[in-house]
Point group: none
Chain length 123, copies 4
């Protein structure tokens, strides 16, 4: 459901936060739904539970998740709204990556090709 890139300079907890926000943005997780548990996610992503816990904690701070004592985390009602901020920053990050690729010598046709290829992969 989620995947991480361990060799990325982007911290794992940020990747996890982005991934969880994405699940909501894509409608796979709706307000009121129970989020996966910290421990199960940690196992699945092969990551230290602390790292997942940190991502959750920050999502709670953002008002994206709500925690019910002894009962796990739930997607908050505000999550959909918040996820738009997430989308905006995802867009910004993509723009950065595009500019970086251009700086490294990639032509626009290469960019188009990469996009097409990514679309193919998703099928």
């Amino acid at each position: 459901m989620l995947s991480l890139d361990v060799s990325s300079p982007v911290p794992l907890n940020e990747q996890i936060k982005a991934g969880l926000r994405g699940l909501v943005a894509k409608g796979l997780l709706k307000p009121g739904d129970q989020a996966p548990s910290v421990r199960s996610l940690a196992v699945q992503l092969k990551v230290n539970p602390n790292t997942v816990a940190r991502a959750f904690r920050e999502l709670v701070l953002e008002g994206f998740f709500e925690t019910r004592r002894g009962d796990g985390s739930y997607v908050s009602e505000e999550a959909l709204k918040r996820s738009r901020h997430g989308l905006a920053s995802a867009g910004r990050r993509l723009g950065d990556a595009l500019r970086a690729a251009r700086r490294e010598g990639l032509g626009w046709s290469d960019v188009e090709k990469a996009v097409r290829q990514a679309r193919e992969e998703e099928r």
Copy 2:
């Protein structure tokens, strides 16, 4: 000639490496050409000479530059070939970014928009 983004999670020395590889990929620097000196680049980019030196050293390890003691650094004959690897990895990085953006909930139309916007910016 090169530009850095200090607020990026990508380390400065990596940005410098990518930038130099880009200069070759774009033909602004050809095999046999003398690369800018470590010190001059450091001044120009306003970073510590050590940071630039590190980038250079790693490009030498990659066989991208050659260095003549007391003289300077030169683009190696193999650099063009290597720069293709560089392009390939730049492409891979872009692909990663695309997939990440998708994971975070961006739609393909958002992606296209980001591409168009990046093209506009360049003019």
Copy 3:
């Protein structure tokens, strides 16, 4: 476990790299094993941690080590394969030294004597 020759023209970090590759080549360190920490090695070898860190970083660039943030460095699965390259290059370096010795006027009997002497020393 490792030893350095501070009066050698070979940079410390290169000696450290060679030494670590040697540990793998000799089977004292296997793929998946955790490598000694940068800091502990630095203390043990009495060099600046940065120097060790540099060696590690370059071994990571070579695909010899893998690094898990906040955890430590691990011998990569590819390390055995790479260590063969390491052995090859160690062999090349030895060949260079032999040719240099010959160029400097050493006879083959002197070479044999040096080899015999090195064997003695190891006992």
Copy 4:
């Protein structure tokens, strides 16, 4: 007649000095013979004349060469004796290289192989 390894950590001028001492040790250059000129050597080795000049200067300081104003450098009568010191240090360097190779994981059979191979190459 002489060859250099530009990618060695050993300074070029040292390599040049060792090479010249070797020519005497091997009898290709005898006391009283005129040494090659700085300029011709520089051209031949593709090295800055200053570098060759430095090697010569230091060999003169060692009493290995003698300089006759306006007439080049000549191998001194003491050169043969001095070249033995050169041989001793060449032997030491070879021993160092052997120990380094062992530390890097080379087995004795690899060492023998390297020696045999170097002998082959010379024919």
